[in-house]
């Protein structure tokens, strides 16, 4: 495994074009696009790109052919908003780089507003978490950062061992609510005040000593306001409504992360075309910011016309693979199945601005594909094969290797002598 990963990292595009070709025959193709589900369908991949989708496709170049035996084929799945590659062991702080936690003094608010912080610079694609997520069928994730009100930028990563975000895409993050009260003078009201002041400053910087942002920060925020979509962590209905006011006032684009009470604002979110990234398992009144948490959040938002994507809010990185179950639980609570699949494929790809590359099975898209034993939203299904940019990627992780080591028959020597 390690050898092939190194190749990915060094030469994802140039290396061995032949290995990026495959003809997958006779699959139940869940396109996560307008074509919906196609039975007994072939997918032709050349040069890492999907070139054709149809029945009984010819194999002109004599490409390697895989018979799917009618099993479901999906786009590589979205693993949620995570710290994959940014944390190895959650409680060992020397292995965690996800959040910028600068000290904040009485007048040191500037340190809570660092939109220029780019967490992708700490990304380690050799982390064991990548392969664990791939075994679960996950092929891309949004690196998140959550250290401050304006917490900085993440990026969308294909989980293939490469270092660069897909399409170079950076994603700016904002975080509202209880977790940031320590940075806003103990009131949520100041969170909106500070955001407004920062937005104003980025748009029309005024000279003087009362600046909130560094020069780089102003540039980064200005750039983000001009074209990027902010991912805003917020749960409470009242706070979501305040965020929507900012959206209107500054003409920025956002998506909501968490959104435990988003269903109560569903129509407004639909009207403002604000996608929501939510955890469908989040149904407890876990705080006073989510008294309205409901397992029907996804279904209600979808009915109102809001784009829904799924995240694992509890254990996002090590258990990114659980996003698949989370989507399934949303389906079991009223979300149409196709919307459930979209929530871990095309919807997040679109919300994150990488839908030209990933998130659906369409001609011209990257061949990031997963073959399953059954319904991909079922906990009783597992991934059996994965292709990333057309290259077959073994479903092997540190976990499967440990498993195999302890499953191996006793050979008279300690387990340490097993592979």
């Amino acid at each position: 495994m390690s050898r092939s990963l190194i190749f990915f990292g060094l030469a994802a595009f140039a290396f061995n074009a032949q290995a990026q070709n495959v003809l997958i025959k006779n699959a139940t193709v869940h396109t996560a696009a307008s074509q919906g589900t196609l039975n007994n369908t072939d997918v032709l991949v050349q040069g890492g790109i999907i070139r054709a989708i149809g029945k009984n496709l010819a194999n002109p170049a004599g490409l390697k052919s895989v018979d799917a035996n009618g099993k479901p084929l999906t786009p590589g799945l979205f693993g949620g908003i995570t710290d994959i590659g940014l944390e190895e062991i959650s409680q060992e702080e020397t292995t965690v780089d996800a959040n910028l936690n600068l000290k904040t003094g009485d007048s040191g608010l500037i340190e809570t507003l660092r939109p220029e912080f780019d967490v992708t610079r700490a990304y380690n694609p050799r982390s064991t978490l990548l392969a664990v997520a791939r075994v679960g069928g996950m092929s891309f994730t949004a690196l998140g950062t959550d250290g401050a009100l304006l917490s900085g930028q993440g990026g969308v990563m294909r989980l293939d061992g490469g270092y660069e975000p897909i399409a170079g895409r950076r994603v700016p993050f904002i975080s509202i609510g209880a977790g940031k009260l320590g940075q806003s003078g103990a009131t949520r009201a100041a969170q909106f005040m500070l955001l407004e002041q920062a937005f104003n400053e980025a748009k029309a910087p005024t000279p003087g000593d009362d600046r909130l942002l560094t020069g780089q920060g102003r540039n980064a925020l200005n750039q983000a306001m001009a074209g990027q979509r902010f991912l805003v962590s917020v749960n409470r209905e009242a706070d979501i409504r305040q965020v929507l006011k900012l959206v209107q006032k500054y003409g920025i684009r956002i998506a909501i992360i968490g959104g435990a009470e988003a269903w109560r604002v569903a129509d407004a979110l639909a009207a403002a075309k604000v996608p929501v990234f939510l955890d469908a398992l989040d149904n407890l009144p876990g705080s006073f910011e989510q008294i309205g948490a409901s397992e029907e959040n996804a279904a209600r938002l979808h009915r109102a016309g809001v784009s829904v994507s799924f995240i694992n809010g509890n254990d996002p990185s090590h258990n990114a693979r659980k996003v698949r179950q989370i989507a399934g639980v949303a389906v079991s609570n009223g979300l149409p199945w196709e919307a459930g699949l979209a929530g871990i494929t095309s919807a997040p790809a679109k919300a994150l601005g990488v839908d030209a590359q990933v998130g659906s099975i369409e001609v011209g898209k990257s061949a990031d594909l997963v073959l399953w034993t059954g319904d991909p939203l079922e906990v009783s299904s597992t991934a059996t094969a994965m292709w990333l940019q057309g290259k077959e990627t073994p479903l092997v992780s540190r976990q499967t290797l440990l498993r195999d080591r302890y499953l191996a028959p006793d050979n008279g020597l300690p387990r340490a002598y097993q592979p």
């Binding site: 149904n283 976990q399 440990l402």
Partner: protein, 458 residues
């Protein structure tokens, strides 16, 4: 349980309680156990579930079978049962029926929703050994999580103190019934458990609070506690044996609990991740002659599955949690299956989570699916034991519940289909024969006081 522990347990049962009956002069009276259960089953007419797929919890699957509940007990399980005239009939066609789900590791009530400072009552993190505290005294019956767990088919659970301490205190086993007091939830006749913790948590919490700050400090801490408890136990046992004559020895709450462990009256639950630490705890149990009931979390249990089976210790485990600490770094998705397949192995799916407890059936399904990748096929009638009869065994309530056998508590779940699916729903949940949750009837869905009048509620 070894012989000495059994002898101690028998003595605890036979020597202590009937002491008043003995003809010795002026024995001190035996006080009733404090904080006793006031649980009362809710009355219900008989219920007959007909024509369902029944997983009995004993390893059997019965297709097109019936389950009859009467007077709070399982009356019969089989084909074409006849029901008393006043029985409520439930058409089970297409449905699956299982014993009520039992979670051996929950912090509902002690870390209640909303999770704020005021509800943080799970770790008495003031001393590394707090065998004196009882989790039940932290349980808030208005935790909205109880009702969500009920909607997931959970009928009984063990509420544990957290894992900050070497010895965290006593657990309590509750029936998942809505109540205003915890005593009214307390599982009648269930033993107390004790919670102990290995590894990183105690040393992290106490490293700068006087220790322990290392794993060797942890083990020294357990040993010191049990050395003291053993002397205490001897003193009290001699007093009891002597017919409670004269002044009773001083009572000490911590030693009461630890002596209860040594006598075999209290089940032992140890939060322990690493294989080598589990082996060390087994040696500790032999040094002080007690039986470990289950290792909780045991992310590396698969490495010592045979040892756990041999020592008759259950592994109460997650399907897929890993990596949040170094001691959880070696997690594999087949852990439960590997513990299960060791001859005599006892695997239990546990939650340790207000979210996970709602879907223990799906956690088991994940294990079944990942095991299949390595050609370990696990049938539903077998897997259901991980969350029913094995859990009951680990808590020592298997005489009362955990399987659909005549005479047991009628703790029963009717599922929309196979429980081992993302789409499975517990449709009806019976506790002691009473229908206390019905997915299709709002009037039979309990809601905590906390949620009343909250305008944001769904």
């Amino acid at each position: 349980m070894n012989k000495l522990t059994i002898a101690a347990a028998i003595c605890a049962a036979l020597c202590v309680l009937p002491a008043q009956a003995r003809k010795k002069p002026e024995p001190s009276p035996v006080k009733p156990a404090p904080f006793a259960s006031t649980y009362k089953a809710i009355a219900s007419p008989p219920v007959l579930i007909q024509n369902a797929t029944v997983l009995t919890g004993t390893g059997e699957r019965l297709d097109n079978a019936d389950v009859l509940m009467q007077d709070g007990k399982i009356q019969a399980v089989g084909k074409a049962l006849s029901a008393p005239g006043n029985a409520k009939i439930i058409n089970g066609t297409g449905k699956w029926v299982t014993p009520g789900i039992i979670d051996v590791h929950s912090h509902l009530g002690v870390y209640a929703s909303p999770g704020i400072d005021a509800t943080s009552d799970g770790n008495e993190a003031t001393n590394a050994v707090t065998a004196n505290v009882w989790a039940e005294h932290s349980v808030w019956p208005q935790d909205a999580g109880f009702a969500k767990a009920l909607a997931g088919g959970v009928t009984s659970m063990q509420i544990l103190p957290g894992s900050a301490n070497l010895v965290g205190g006593r657990s309590v086993i509750l029936k998942n019934v809505a109540a205003t007091t915890y005593q009214a939830m307390k599982f009648p006749g269930a033993p107390h458990g004790i919670k102990m913790a290995c590894g990183e948590n105690p040393k992290r919490v106490y490293g700068e609070k006087g220790g322990p700050s290392t794993r060797m400090g942890n083990v020294a801490g357990y040993r010191a506690a049990f050395i003291g408890a053993e002397a205490y136990r001897r003193k009290w046992d001699a007093y009891e044996k002597g017919g409670r004559q004269g002044d009773a020895p001083d009572q000490d709450l911590a030693n009461d609990t630890l002596a209860g462990v040594l006598r075999g009256d209290i089940t032992v639950n140890i939060h322990c991740y690493r294989a080598d630490e589990m082996a060390a705890m087994i040696d500790l149990s032999k040094e002080f002659d007690f039986q470990i009931s289950s290792f909780h979390h045991g992310v590396e249990a698969y490495k010592v599955a045979d040892l756990l089976a041999k020592e008759k210790i259950c592994g109460a485990l997650w399907a897929d949690w890993w990596g949040f600490k170094l001691e959880a770094y070696d997690g594999i998705e087949e852990n439960i299956a590997l513990v299960d397949r060791a001859p005599g192995g006892c695997a239990v799916v546990h939650s340790d989570s207000g979210e996970g407890i709602q879907r223990l059936n799906q956690e088991a399904a994940k294990v079944m699916a990942s095991s299949k990748r390595v050609n370990i096929d696990i049938a539903p009638e077998h897997a259901i034991r991980w969350l029913t009869s094995n859990a009951a065994k680990a808590l020592r309530i298997d005489e009362q519940t955990g399987s659909l056998q005549t005479g047991k508590m009628a703790d029963v779940v009717v599922w929309s289909g196979t429980p081992f699916s993302t789409y499975a729903k517990a449709e009806q949940v019976f506790i002691d024969g009473a229908l206390l949750y019905d997915r299709n009837n709002k009037a039979l869905q309990p809601r905590a006081d906390f949620l009343i009048g909250q305008e944001g509620q769904p």
